[in-house]
Every structure is written in structure tokens, then in C-alpha cells.
């Protein structure tokens, strides 16, 4: 038999079984369980804080700035790469915004050019990594210094007010408050998450991302343009990083040349906490989403519980290591 004829046999019906559901979504369930457990601990240890809405508004206000970048970063890591340069790209994007605003007095044009700069920086990462074969870890360490340096040179180390943006529509659209309480950046986080999910799970690009991270050679043998896909993942990170940078800067209506500093580890931790494997080929955005909220909440929770801020890093470390071990365990069981 050399052709497969279409005969009428039983059609595939995706039967739902609880066991299959657990198997297929092991990682997501894992991180979700950790999330719920921790939440429970927080509520029990500090009920006044965690049973009133203010802390949640605070989370929704600050977590999105790094959680937004964690989404495309997850895609990049699934493809078997990593990007350490996004904090610097956030900053160079804002520098572009400021320079364009100086000349054009338009925040919209400034935003557009900033986003293009982000795309370009991501593309540059991609070219260095794909065409010159430099491992992404090393390449993005290099570009991270380069862009941060460019920021310092162009801004001369000076910070600047963004108060004028409050007069424009851009400000409320990006960082305003829905119903007076829900921060727009949270809405944007949900939008970015949904868009990234569609990209990763419903497009050829996303299918290729998983395949390349799993076995780049197999993908290449079967005609997947691995170089192009990889470059695009970096471009996506660059674009979204600048977007997050604009949000963060507008939120405080101030530009700091150090924009992005301090987001690096948090964002990476969210990705790995969420169950994405550093080896590539597996990972979910759902996991990253909850990973980001766990990371974001720990700092506030530590203080609310009554421990000093010194405990924060210890607890971060504990939770990260335990979660990553849990993910590896779940993965092994499922296989």
C-alpha cells in the first residue's frame, strides 16, 4: 500500500477523560496549584491585607509591566532560545519615544517609532544569533550592554518628566483606570496574553516554534524555515518589551535611563516558574501568567505577613526551585 485511501471508519472523537486532562495539562495544573496554595497561605497569614481589594489593585498595577514581556519571552524560550536584552530594549524604546516627541510633539508618532525601534533591536538580536550562530545567551548579554550603553549616551544619563503625556489620550488608554479601579495595564496584559496564545497555539508560526525548540534538525529536514521563525521570536520580544516600557514609564510619568533594570530576573523567573523548559519544545503561557503573579505577589505578601523585606529573596528562591523541580517531576511522570 502506497497511498492511503479515505475509507469510512470511525471518526476521531476527542473523548474527555479526567485522567487524560490531567496528563495533557500537567504543567499548568501544577503551577496553578502552587498559586492557589500560596494564595491560601497569604490569606491565612495576613487576612486584613489579602481579603481587601487594595492589594489586588496594586498587583494589577505593577505586575503587568514585567508580566507582559514574559509572554513573548515564553515563546522565545520554547523555541530553544533566551533573551536577556529586553530590559535594555525597553529603555532604548523610550529614548526613541522622547527623541521623536522632541521633534514632532506627537506622543503617537513617538510611540510608533519606539515600537519600530523595539522590532529592530529584536531583529538585530535574531540576525546575530541566526546568521552568525552566536548562542542567544551570549548574544543577548552583549546586546543588553550595547542598548543600555546607547540609552546612557543618548540621554546623557538624564531622566525626564512625561507629564505632558497626561494631556493626551495615550495616557488613559495605556495606563488609565477602568471603572476608576482596574488599571489599564492589566487589561493590556490580558490582551497581550491572548494574542500570544493565538500566535503560539493557533498559527503555523507557533507550531514551528514548538518543533524548533524540540528538535531543530528535524524541523529543518522537514522544510521549516528555522532561521526566520527564530528571528521573529526575538522581534516579538523587542516589540512587546518597548510596549511594556512605555506603559511603565507613563505609569510614573517619568523616564529613567535605568528603565527595565530589575525586571530581568523577575520576568525570566515567571517563565520558568510557569513550567516552560529551558531546553525548549514545551511550555505554556497560562503557566507564565500565574508564574508572574506568584513572583509579583511574593514581595508584597512577605511584608504583609510580617516578615522583613530581607526574606523576599529567600522565599523567591525557595518557590522557584521547588516549582521547577515539581515541573520536571510532572513532566517525567507524564512521559
Amino acid at each position: 500500500m502506497t497511498t492511503i485511501e479515505e475509507t469510512n471508519t470511525q471518526t476521531y472523537k476527542r473523548s474527555f477523560s479526567l485522567r487524560k486532562f490531567f496528563r495533557r495539562n500537567g504543567t499548568q495544573l501544577g503551577i496553578f496549584t502552587v498559586f492557589v496554595l500560596l494564595w491560601g497561605i497569604f490569606i491565612i497569614s495576613a487576612p486584613e491585607t489579602f481579603l481587601s481589594p487594595q492589594i489586588y489593585y496594586a498587583f494589577m498595577s505593577t505586575i503587568p509591566f514585567f508580566a507582559i514581556v514574559a509572554m513573548p519571552l515564553t515563546i522565545t524560550v520554547i523555541a530553544g532560545e533566551i533573551d536577556l536584552s529586553f530590559p535594555a530594549i525597553m529603555a532604548i524604546g523610550m529614548v526613541a519615544f522622547l527623541l521623536v516627541y522632541d521633534v514632532s510633539q506627537s506622543v503617537w508618532l513617538g510611540s510608533l517609532v519606539a515600537l519600530l525601534v523595539g522590532l529592530f533591536a529584536g531583529w538585530l538580536n535574531g540576525i546575530i544569533i541566526v546568521h552568525f550562530g552566536i548562542p542567544s545567551l551570549v548574544a543577548t548579554i552583549g546586546t543588553q550592554f550595547f542598548w543600555r550603553g546607547a540609552v546612557l549616551v543618548l540621554s546623557q544619563g538624564k531622566s525626564g518628566t512625561l507629564v505632558y503625556t497626561k494631556e493626551t489620550l495615550l495616557h488613559p488608554i495605556l495606563v488609565g483606570k477602568v471603572f476608576g479601579v482596574i488599571p489599564m495595564q492589566m487589561v493590556w496584559l490580558i490582551v497581550v496574553t491572548i494574542l500570544c496564545w493565538i500566535l503560539l497555539n493557533r498559527t503555523r508560526f507557533g507550531a514551528h516554534v514548538y518543533l524548533i525548540g524540540d528538535n531543530a534538525e528535524s524541523a529543518k529536514l522537514m522544510g521549516v524555515n528555522t532561521g526566520r521563525v527564530r528571528i521573529r521570536t526575538f522581534m516579538l520580544v523587542g516589540l512587546v518589551a518597548v510596549f511594556a516600557g512605555i506603559l511603565a514609564s507613563l505609569h510614573v510619568t517619568y523616564f529613567w535611563p535605568s528603565l527595565g533594570d530589575g525586571y530581568l530576573l523577575r520576568t525570566l523567573a515567571s517563565v520558568f516558574l510557569g513550567g516552560t523548559s529551558v531546553f525548549g519544545g514545551v511550555g505554556t503561557l497560562f503557566g507564565t501568567f500565574f508564574g508572574a503573579f506568584i513572583i509579583g505577589a511574593i514581595e508584597a505578601a512577605t511584608v504583609a505577613i510580617g516578615l522583613t523585606g530581607f526574606w523576599t529573596q529567600l522565599i523567591y528562591g525557595l518557590i522557584i526551585v521547588i516549582s521547577v523541580i515539581m515541573h520536571a517531576y510532572v513532566r517525567r511522570k507524564v512521559e
Partner: protein
């Protein structure tokens, strides 16, 4: 009569290494050609040029009489070339349906993946062609959990699903049990029976002799000889191969 595939004076260099030198090769309209040769002789390089994975350094490539420049893997597939690679070209952490449609994912009219269709097709192939009847295996099963023979089945079914005219098999019997090997050889015979052509690479000269119409021997990047299998005995063929390996030419 035009050949399905023809290579004229094809050479391939990798830096200083010359993997193929002035190779002339033809694949007829309905034949199984066995490609034999020692490790590093250039067999895999030759087929990777036919599948579009490599570009030849010099020489010309013809498909059904038409010259083709800059052949790529997607282009080769459009011309009906399908390959079952030595490495199986599978992604082990991914599900069966993702592997079947690797690089050729089906999309709906919005350009989004038609996962339902891919899963349904995979299920059909699983039950009809691959013989997976166990309830434990589904289109969602990760290919890494399959045995060597099952993975081979996946790679073959994948090649067939897309209606190939030229089926290339690179060391397909590697890692297979006797029963699975027998199944594979029958499958190769079936290819000819269906009017198509196949290039079959294997170390095992007995396997190749059993199914090929013609045997081409590659040695150190050159075509060292060609034999019609019905004009030479297995013993003579083996003796010739040994001679080629020792001296680089025929007796």
C-alpha cells in the same frame, strides 16, 4: 523516456571536504534504486541534494526532464519527493499530529491552524495505516513514547500521506526487528507496484538486493558502479563491493 530525477555532474563541497564529485545519477519512472556504499561515501549527501536540503556546489538537477535551480525542501516536496530519514526527523516531545504535519500544518481560511482536521486525519492514519489500535495511543500521544518500529511507521505514513511520487528511504531498517524489517521491505516493493519510484539506502546489502531493481554504488564521493539486480548474483555483488572498498574501482 524522461527520468523522474536526474543529476548531471553534481559535486558538493563542505569547505575543504569534497562529499560528492561529478556524480551522474538517474531515477527512472517506476523503479527502486538501491544506493550502497560505506560510511561517509556520500549517499546521504546525494539524497539531501535531491530533497532540497543541500544545494549542489556544481552540476545540474532535473526533475521529470525540467532543470531545477535552487531546490528547497518545500519545493522538492511539491515535486513529489518525500523522505524517510535515517534520523526519522521527528520531534519527540511533540504529539503525533504535530509530527505528521511537521512543516505542513493545515490551516483554515483565517490562516489559523485547523487542529481538529489534523487530529482527525492523524487518527485515521493511526488506525488504518499505522495499525495503532491500543486505546493508549491517540493523536495527542508524544512520539517520544513510541518504539523504534512505531516511529518508523510514523515517518513512513507521513511520507505517504502527502502523495509522493519519489520516496527516499535513508537507512530505514536501522533499529528494526526482523518482523518490522520484513514489513518495510514489502512496503518498498509496494511502492514499485503502485507505479512510483524509490531510492533506498541501506548498509545491509541483502536488504537492498532483495527489493532494488538497480543498485548504484557510491565510494568516496563518486559513482563507483551500477548493476541491475537481475543481472548479478548477490555473491558477485558483495565481492564487487568489497573490491571497490579496497581499491576504489571495479575489477
Amino acid at each position: 523516456m524522461t527520468f523522474r530525477v536526474e543529476l548531471r555532474k553534481v559535486s558538493k563541497h563542505f569547505g575543504e571536504v569534497c562529499a560528492l564529485q561529478d556524480v551522474d545519477f538517474q531515477l527512472g519512472q517506476n523503479e527502486v534504486v538501491g544506493l550502497l556504499g560505506d560510511n561517509g561515501a556520500g549517499k546521504s549527501t546525494l539524497i539531501k541534494i535531491i530533497t532540497g536540503y543541500y544545494q549542489q556546489s556544481t552540476g545540474e538537477l532535473f526533475f521529470n526532464g525540467e532543470k531545477v535551480d535552487h531546490l528547497t525542501v518545500p519545493k522538492a516536496r511539491q515535486m513529489g519527493v518525500e523522505t524517510v530519514y535515517q534520523e526519522r526527523a521527528l520531534a519527540e516531545l511533540q504529539s503525533l499530529w504535530r509530527n505528521i504535519f511537521l512543516g505542513r500544518e493545515l490551516t483554515n481560511r483565517f490562516g489559523l491552524l485547523d487542529i481538529k482536521k489534523m487530529e482527525a486525519e492523524t487518527y485515521r492514519l493511526m488506525t488504518q495505516a499505522m495499525g495503532f489500535t491500543s486505546a493508549a495511543v491517540s493523536p495527542e500521544s508524544k512520539v517520544g513514547t513510541f518504539s523504534g518500529g512505531e516511529r518508523q511507521g510514523v515517518a513512513i505514513v507521513r511520507a505517504l500521506y502527502f502523495d509522493a511520487d519519489i520516496i527516499i528511504l535513508d537507512e530505514p531498517t536501522m533499529g528494526l526487528s526482523l518482523k518490522e524489517t520484513d514489513k518495510l521491505l514489502n512496503f518498498v516493493r509496494g511502492i514499485r507496484g503502485a507505479g512510483k519510484s524509490s531510492i533506498f539506502i541501506d548498509h545491509n546489502i541483502v536488504h537492498v538486493y532483495a527489493v532494488a531493481d538497480r543498485v548504484v554504488v557510491i565510494d568516496r564521493g563518486k559513482v563507483a558502479g551500477e548493476f541491475m539486480t537481475d543481472e548479478i548474483s548477490l555473491d558477485d555483488l558483495m565481492a564487487n563491493m568489497i573490491h571497490i572498498a579496497e581499491t576504489g574501482s571495479f575489477a
